[in-house]
Amino acid sequence: MQTAQTDGVRFQPASDQSLLIYFGQQITPDAHQRVRKLLRLLSQKPITGVRNLNPAYCSILVSFDALRLNHAGLEEILRGYTNRLDALRLPKGRELKIPTCYGGEFGPDLNEVASVHGLSPAQAIELHTSVTYTVYFLGFVPGFAYLGELPEALATPRLDSPRRSTPPGSVGIAGNQTGVYPFSTPGGWRLIGRTPIAMFRPDRRAMSFLAIGDRVRFTPISAAQFAALERG
């Protein structure tokens, strides 16, 4: 298996038509910056034959047309990109707010999450809204943003058995991550609230409400405000 290492960058074939680039094996702000920078370089100067990019915490999966590229050739081209990352300056991420109605039917797991940590529901809400989160990447389904880091005092494991369906807009937590379900999908994250914002809309110019690198804060709203915002 091909593996090589320079500057903490490691390449690993994932399939006969994809190659993983790892920037270390930890979720760190530095790895995140490098993921963003490489994505930016690849969108500014696309590589012929590359078909898709799946960014994550500290890696990017590069899928390619196997009739035009192979792992070794692509790795060599990508090294030309990764060597330029340090010199690149990223634009500042946008600052966005996600109004969220916590608890009750919108956040069926809020009380349990709070009690696991010896908190009142109000304290749990305060903790969740106290932090500015970074959008590490979008993945899983269209528009699903992996947000970190959740305050340690709220970190809670996933549900033992995932729900068959989560209402769109559900705000969940899993480990030290938090995120919003854009669609009614199965999900194992603990639901603490819901936002009326559409996280993904194909008829909007920016289909995904959030983009990699955005800075996000949750703001508490009442059920009445939720209803008003939902009506738009």
């Binding site: 994932a14 993983l20 389904v141």
Partner: protein, 313 residues
């Protein structure tokens, strides 16, 4: 404008083309035909670009009326189709007169049948593709499987009918296999020698819960060497991931774009279309090949698909 009236939708019938690669950064998986080779062959039979949108049917086909007539072809698994009660062959172009009814049944071998129509199925593209992504309700016809009463529009085309069939040799090449060829997954070394041995020696049954997102396999359980914690990363089409329970899952066309389970193997590109023809309770095995071998098999397959002998006129 020619149309298709859906009199019965079948079990799960969706509009699919060759998918929408390139939107991983916003979490959108490519989707597209589960057996793209059958879709491509069907389009060639009716004189379309091979990427045109057609209908993908699963296990049980639908009943369709063509009020203005059409030129079409059925490919993939044989769903015992009839045109106005006369049996029609798969893998051949078919002239449908105005008002005729195409009725598809079920299948005993394979899982998916494709209906391609000259001009293609016309839907509003989402991110450049007509493919339906069922889970998110995006793309295709109103983002969902077809229902009784739907009326689909056929794209404009004025080519005349030509009798075309797929060469027997090609059909044999694309036929089903019980052994899927795989390359090592990015976390293959996370699994013990005995687990890797069990994975390659074992027979797996395709679970009932399988769909376009993934195929759940029942068979020898696979365990990890240690308790390494996986950091969520991008997952490739055909990845064989192993969750904590030890039952492998093949990630398929409507897969999630990222995931947190280790991947023991990945189905080679040249065998992905065969995954699209697996049905619940089918038994499969895995055979490891090198990346070079996987590439050669893909090149051979593409040479066959572009060969002059593929379609007999």
């Amino acid at each position: 404008m020619k149309t298709i009236q859906v009199q019965a939708p079948g079990l799960l019938t969706t509009v699919q083309d060759l998918g929408r690669p390139g939107f991983g950064p916003i979490g959108v998986s490519p989707s597209g035909a589960a057996d793209p080779i059958s879709l491509r062959l069907g389009n060639l039979l009716v004189g379309n670009e091979e990427s045109a949108a057609g209908l993908e049917m699963m296990l049980l086909g639908g009943t369709f009326i063509f009020p203005e007539g059409a030129i079409l072809a059925l490919t993939g698994s044989d769903f015992s189709a009839t045109l106005n009660d006369v049996r029609v062959n798969i893998g051949a172009s078919l002239y449908v007169r105005p008002g005729q009814t195409l009725r598809l049944g079920s299948t005993n071998s394979g899982a998916r049948c494709y209906l391609c129509v000259q001009g293609g199925i016309a839907v509003k593209p989402f991110l450049g593709s007509a493919s339906t992504h069922i889970l998110s309700g995006l793309g295709g016809f109103e983002g969902r499987p077809l229902r009784k009463g739907d009326v689909l529009r056929i794209g404009r085309s004025s080519k005349r009918f030509r009798n075309r069939t797929i060469a027997q040799l090609a059909l044999e090449n694309f036929s089903r296999r019980k052994v899927l060829r795989v390359t090592p997954g990015p976390q293959a070394d996370w699994f013990s020698e005995s687990s890797l041995g069990a994975f390659y020696a074992g027979t797996y049954r395709v679970g009932e819960q399988s769909n376009r997102m993934g195929l759940r396999l029942e068979g020898p359980a696979i365990s990890q060497r240690g308790a390494s914690e996986m950091i969520t990363e991008g997952v490739s089409l055909g990845a064989v991931q192993v969750p904590a329970g030890g039952s492998p899952i093949i990630l398929f066309v409507e897969q999630q774009t990222t995931g947190g389970y280790p991947k023991i193997a990945n189905v080679i590109s040249a065998d992905l279309h065969r995954v699209g023809q697996l049905r619940p309770r089918d038994e499969i095995r895995f055979e490891q090949v090198t990346f070079d071998a996987a590439r050669s098999l893909l090149v051979e397959q593409e040479e066959l698909l572009s060969s002059r002998e593929l379609i007999l006129v």
